[in-house]
Symmetry: C2
Subunit: 258 residues, 2 copies
């Protein structure tokens, strides 16, 4: 949505193009050099921060809608994107707190009565992971600000988004051993130290490095290469890579350790 | 819904009491003595089987709606119930195939134009597990039939329900090592053979019994009791029980093996 006219049309007639009563919220995690961040936006006319998201076009599958919403904010297409939970609670969006008068002025509506955006919404939660140094953040007419925040110092969020972030983090950490989450966050060939640091950062805790690779190798997701990297006198650690074929399969079906 | 009058009112005015464009589908698994079954229903005026489900009341949280829908069919309250995935695809419900004429006769409507039930629906999938020998199946005015089917010989299902069942099974099997799913399916104290048989049946594959309990004991979900059961000459296997406290915690937060 680029123009004021398109924004008004979305508010007035969006239900013709988008499915009413359903939204998408995206917890977009960003990783780079031992830091984990979360992307937050500030809606026009709201004071506090929330997760980026949006509505589902009537012609879209859920994942397509999530992908479009993530791309609009980050400029990155086809991120690792995973649905993790749907949120529905009669009190999750406190319509009574909205400054409806201001919005009536902007839109030129006489009343919110019966408007599709002022009804209860169930929200489908997705999380994504990307390298935050490679994103180009974008705002638009409905989103005044967009920024990366350290995962350890998030501001209080609008609506039920604190809960959504907590559940997204939990799901992502659970999935670290079921989906090949690291693929786009590491170079093509990497050392054990590099993937160990990535996992520690994503999990937010220390991992015993001597036991660490066993699990990933047991999943056959990780391949030990017959190659070393020279990083100084007497230091040339083995290189590893992800197994692309297993990766594609795991993206579709997940992997179960048993 | 018990009367024809209530059923008509639901079709005409349901959107006032239920959230439009969103439904719930429940894969209710039944376990008893080494058998795994799935509960299926047949809607009035449809020839084939589908998953039980329904709509979300405007006053309900998602889990409450799922619990109500499961209780209506099985007579069992507060089952182990887990949300696993939400399904949204423009083609998931083929409205064009419906015998709309028959339904217009039943409801006395002049047209389906603008009716809340004839619009695109996103469906939130839950799975539940119960002992099928303890359920009392119930039909009603909109559900003509309701029955348990062996998981290995399911009929083809309506809509996208084959996909929902596949994903529910996958999620349940993944969760076997994250949630204490077995609690209500075994006696208070059980032998290793009993829980081993339960897990083999739910997973649909053989498990090495010598390695099997390690994982559950590592999760501290399972306690080895200082008690044995006498089942014959020279046969008195150790008894185990679930740890209730860990169980409650895991129900809320899940458990991550690391």
């Amino acid at each position: 949505m680029q123009t004021e006219e398109e924004f008004k049309d979305f508010i007035l007639n969006g239900h013709l193009h988008y499915i009413p009563n359903v939204s998408i919220d995206c917890a977009i995690f960003g990783y780079h050099e031992y830091q984990l961040k979360l992307l937050l936006i500030r809606h026009r006319n709201l004071d506090s921060w929330s997760l980026p998201g949006g509505h589902i076009k009537r012609t879209e599958k859920l994942l397509e809608a999530a992908n479009r919403n993530v791309k609009v904010r980050t400029g990155v297409d086809n991120l690792f994107l995973q649905q993790f939970k749907t949120f529905g609670d009669p009190g999750r969006i406190p319509f009574e707190k909205f400054d409806k008068k201001k919005w009536l002025e902007i839109t030129g509506l006489a009343s919110w009565e019966g408007n599709w955006l002022m009804d209860q919404t169930i929200s489908v939660g997705f999380y994504a992971i990307t390298d935050f140094s490679e994103t180009i953040l974008q705002t638009d007419i409905s989103t005044g600000a967009c920024a990366w925040f350290d995962i350890g110092s998030l501001p209080p969020l609008e609506f039920d988004h604190d809960e959504i972030v907590r559940d997204a983090l939990y799901a992502m950490r659970l999935h670290l051993y079921h989906y090949p989450i690291g693929l786009n966050l590491l170079p093509e060939k990497f050392t054990l130290s590099e993937i160990h640091a990535l996992y520690e950062t994503l999990l937010g805790k220390k991992l015993d490095i001597s036991n660490f690779p066993k699990k990933l190798i047991a999943l056959k997701l990780l391949k030990k290469l017959d190659e070393k990297r020279s990083i100084g006198a007497h230091r040339s650690p083995h290189l590893y890579s992800f197994d692309r074929e297993k990766y594609e399969l795991a993206l579709k079906e997940g992997l179960v350790l048993s």
